[in-house]
Amino acid sequence: MTDGSLAALVALGAFHGLNPAMGWLFAVARGLQERSRTRVLEALPAIAAGHAASVGAVALLLTLTRSVVAAQAVAVVGGVALVAFGLWRLLSKRHFRWVGMRLSLRQLAGWSFLMSSAHGAGLMLLPVITASGSAQGLAHAHGLGHAAGSAVSAAVFVTGVHTLAMFVTAGVIALLVYDVLGLTVLRRAWLDLDRVWAVALVGAGAFALATV
């Protein structure tokens, strides 16, 4: 894995962590509701776990596919998928719908999984994984042997790095907003990151297709 793809993984995780819709805002809401920082803190791992499950599923699918299918095919199919999903997110007015504030931590993890999946959070791993050479290449770096095992370990590695970046970013922002900034900051600073994300997906997909 190149330094560039590692940096990209971290940046993607940080971007998801930054997005209020992806969970830190929910953590802050739970804390404010009971005036308890503990409630903020205990929500964050659950949200990260749901995110990791969503991203990990895509990562595993990608690395396993890459271990048996030609890189070109993965790039083409994946690129088309990225462009299509990005365009859909860009043009559709539909947003993630859910009812309910009072969730158990397990339900919160489930919420995070669904939210991340609806967002297509794992899709951007495609260019990262494609760019990081073959699955074998990834796995050799970790001293593993056969293809399936190496694919799994690559997926775990990618998901872990991504989620850690997401978790740290979300945690810092959640505490900053809870303790210092307050929620009035939302009115000024909540850019429509979902639209940025959709554009990025389209761009990454187009790039993958162009460079096949």
Binding site: L32, R97, W98, V99, L186, R187, D194
Partner: protein, 470 residues
């Protein structure tokens, strides 16, 4: 077009919403009492620095007759910031305007040209009946995942039950009936929620056959109108509990939950007690102040009837020798401090300090209209007024209070048989007290023959938005 930043009229918390800028326009639902001409959404100038202040500056007529406009709601509000289904980059742009009699719903764009709203979509009555099984849409609330439309009547030949239809808040299509399990609930009127507790509350008036031709004496004395409120699990859409206020307390109408999302109490008004013609205000809350568990309701305000000579009373209440206060609407300020109470029968608007919801303290009262008193407005002291303060709306900062005088066509005609007229008034409210703004009193011909019902303030008001953060 979606926005890059949250709609500036959305506020995360009621604390923030109080700092919202004053509204410059007010939208009023107005209907033609003859049903011969079109109803209209009126635009009132509410900017004190404007030359047209207090006058009708816009009028969007609807393309049908007999809709009987009543209440209105927004396509989106502060609940779009809620963390579980956030989508704050939509615009508060459309007024959702149901016709209470026709069951037709209009979606009116007030952004493109705020003083000349345009109809963006019309939902014909059969959409509501076919997809949700309801008719007579009444209250509209913007939830984080859709529009909730509380409807009074059943459909397809059924008088009831009334209930909530869920609408897609992007396409404005009817998604279906909201309730999965309605339990014993049959009568409907208002609906609102404790959004941070996943609790929805509904109240009871009557089915269409009980109300559309006026109040029915036998039903009232037989204690058949609504006298309970219902609590629901908002996530599972299931009925949880029915709290009966006692069948002498007829017509439990407006629901005003605390805006503070950490709180679980709210106010509901009872129009009339058949025992003594009084009106009452109740606070609902969890038993023993617990965070979970059963709900209950406590009567915290009783407003007595006022003795009156029979000759001064309309036939519907002549036998009683008294004029009932008929509290038909209440409104709670965004800071949960003041409760405004409309006494449509006696012609009085009261203000209570409800800092302690269980011990309201009366903190001001004005008289206007009334079945017997006919109190004039201070700016036209020689003109006796019909009707009384009815729908009451409070600005987000809590400083301005707007009232209109019509209740409901057939009921107007029963209680004010010589003509209910049409007027709207504004009051200024502060810690020190509250009183009429002499410059704001559109009335009579200003409304072009229409009666005026509910007011919605530009950017939101005390009964339009709910907040997920304290």
């Amino acid at each position: 077009m979606p926005l890059w930043k949250p709609d500036p009229t959305f506020y995360a918390s009621p604390r923030d919403a109080v700092s919202a800028p004053p509204e410059k326009l007010a939208y009023v639902a107005a209907f033609d009492p003859t049903s011969q001409g079109p109803d209209a959404v009126l635009v009132l100038d509410a900017d004190p620095d404007s030359a047209a202040y207090g006058s009708v500056v816009g009028r969007t007529e609807l393309p049908n007759t007999g809709d009987e406009l009543h209440h209105m709601g927004w396509n989106a509000c502060s609940s779009a910031l809620c963390p579980y289904a956030p989508h704050p980059h939509v615009e508060r742009r459309y007024l959702v305007v149901p016709g209470l009699r026709s069951s037709r719903m209009y979606f009116v764009d007030v952004k493109k040209n705020p003083t000349s709203p345009e109809i963006a979509k019309i939902l014909e009555p059969d959409e509501l009946s076919k997809r949700a099984g309801y008719s007579r849409p009444h209250t509209v609330h913007c939830g984080p995942e859709g529009l909730y439309v509380a409807s009074l009547g059943g459909a397809n030949g059924h008088d009831g039950p009334g209930g909530i239809a869920l609408l897609d808040h992007d396409s404005f299509e009817v998604l279906g009936r909201w309730e999965v399990d309605r339990g014993p609930q049959h009568l409907a009127y208002d609906a609102w929620w404790h959004i941070a507790h996943d609790v929805l509350v509904t109240s009871e008036w009557g089915t269409p056959s009980m109300i559309e031709d006026g109040v029915v004496g036998e039903l009232l004395l037989g204690r058949r109108y609504g006298h309970a409120i219902h609590f629901w699990d908002m996530r599972k859409r299931r009925h949880v509990q029915r709290v009966d206020l006692g069948d002498q307390h007829q017509m439990a109408l407006e629901l005003r939950p605390a805006h503070d999302p950490t709180k679980q109490y709210g106010f509901v008004n009872v129009v009339v007690s058949v025992e003594d013609l009084s009106s009452s205000i109740w606070v609902w809350h969890r038993e023993n102040g617990a965070k979970d568990g059963p709900w209950t309701a406590t009567k915290v305000i009783t407003i007595p009837a006022e003795p009156a000579p029979e000759s001064a009373l309309p036939p519907v209440i002549q036998p009683f020798g008294a004029v009932p206060p008929l509290v038909t609407d209440i409104d709670l300020s965004v800071d949960d401090r003041w409760l405004y109470v409309s006494c449509w029968g006696t012609g009085e608007l009261k203000r209570y300090d409800v800092s302690d919801p269980f011990h309201p303290v009366e903190a001001g009262s004005v008289r206007i209209g009334g079945i017997v008193n006919r109190t004039p407005h201070p700016s036209a002291p020689d003109v006796p007024l019909s009707g009384g303060p009815q729908m009451v709306e409070v600005s987000r900062d809590g400083r301005r209070v707007y009232v209109t005088n019509s209740l409901y066509r057939s009921w107007d005609d029963q209680f004010y048989p010589d003509g209910v007229g049409a007027w709207m008034a504004k009051l200024d409210s502060s810690e020190a007290g509250f009183g009429f703004d002499p410059r704001f009193f559109p009335n009579g011909d200003d409304f072009g023959g229409l009666r005026v019902h509910q007011t919605r303030l530009q950017g939101g008001d005390a009964s339009s938005d709910s907040y997920c953060y304290p």
